[in-house]
């Protein structure tokens, strides 16, 4: 009984299932990982949304502070990233709804849909910001 048979290379070493470092990265795998990362980022990004709403409910002074903070270069950078994460996670979710029906699951279609969701998320983010800057004048 030589202790840790999961990592040891002894006589009782057992086969391990392949993991991330074994596979050549595929777009579907990358998008799956990014879906989880954007989800976690949005989880904490919600604090910005709620803080913004709470500042408005607290009065003009607090709202102005929040607006200035979010309107700063760093604020806009964070919000740009938040917008992309939001759209990427949304399109990733729609991809999952499609897969739930059993459609588009074959390898080549799944790869195409993964690329499309990446492209779509960038396009939607840019569109939202172009409209935003147009509205602000």
């Amino acid at each position: 009984m030589s202790g840790n048979s999961r990592t040891g290379g002894g006589a009782d070493a057992r086969p391990l299932s392949p993991h991330l470092q074994i596979y050549r990265p595929a777009i579907t795998m990358t998008m799956s990982i990014v879906h989880r990362i954007t989800g976690a980022a949005l989880y904490f990004g919600t604090l910005i949304v709620i803080g913004w709403l709470a500042s408005a409910a607290s009065g003009p002074a607090a709202f102005d502070t929040a607006q200035n903070l979010l309107g700063s270069f760093l604020g806009r950078l964070v919000l740009f990233g938040y917008t992309w994460a939001l759209f990427h996670h949304m399109l990733g979710g729609i991809r999952h709804f499609i897969w739930d029906t059993g459609a588009m699951l074959d390898k080549h279609t799944a790869s195409k849909v993964a690329w499309a969701s990446l492209g779509g998320s960038v396009a939607l983010t840019l569109l939202a910001w172009v409209i935003g800057y147009a509205v602000m004048g």
Binding site: A40, Y43, I50, I94, D100, G132, V135
Partner: protein, 126 residues
């Protein structure tokens, strides 16, 4: 021979007692979030550069307030479910895992409640 009771078979909720509940709630809030996210982004874009008074006036519209509250509630429930899976996947130590699962629920509940209260306050004339 199955050791399951007939009641357990009829309920069909499995050993964790939740059946497909987690999966279903994740999908349900996910479906709801699609139009709600788009509505929220639209709300933000239309209000760029507005003063607090203008902002409050917009939220005093019942449609806008309802959309914001649905967005917050559906969002935090979706967040709670998603972060729960991440914790269950990556935190092997039981004590830490349970603490993280509790913190997750507290965080989502607090964030959701503050958000809903803020919207209600603005909706009722801030």
């Amino acid at each position: 021979m199955s050791m399951r009771t007939p009641l357990s078979r009829v309920r069909g909720l499995g050993s964790a007692g939740e059946g497909t509940g987690h999966f279903w709630k994740q999908r349900l809030t996910g479906v709801a979030n699609v139009p709600l996210v788009l509505g929220f982004v639209w709300f933000v874009i239309c209000g760029l550069g507005s003063t607090q008074a203008e902002f409050a006036a917009r939220v005093s519209s019942p449609l806008v307030a309802a959309m914001l509250i649905l967005f917050i509630v559906s969002g935090v429930v979706h967040m709670k479910l998603g972060m729960q899976v991440i914790i269950e996947d990556y935190v092997p130590a039981e004590g830490t895992r349970i603490a993280a699962l509790i913190a997750n629920i507290f965080f989502c509940a607090a964030v959701g409640l503050v958000g809903v209260l803020a919207v209600l306050k603005l909706a009722f004339g801030g």
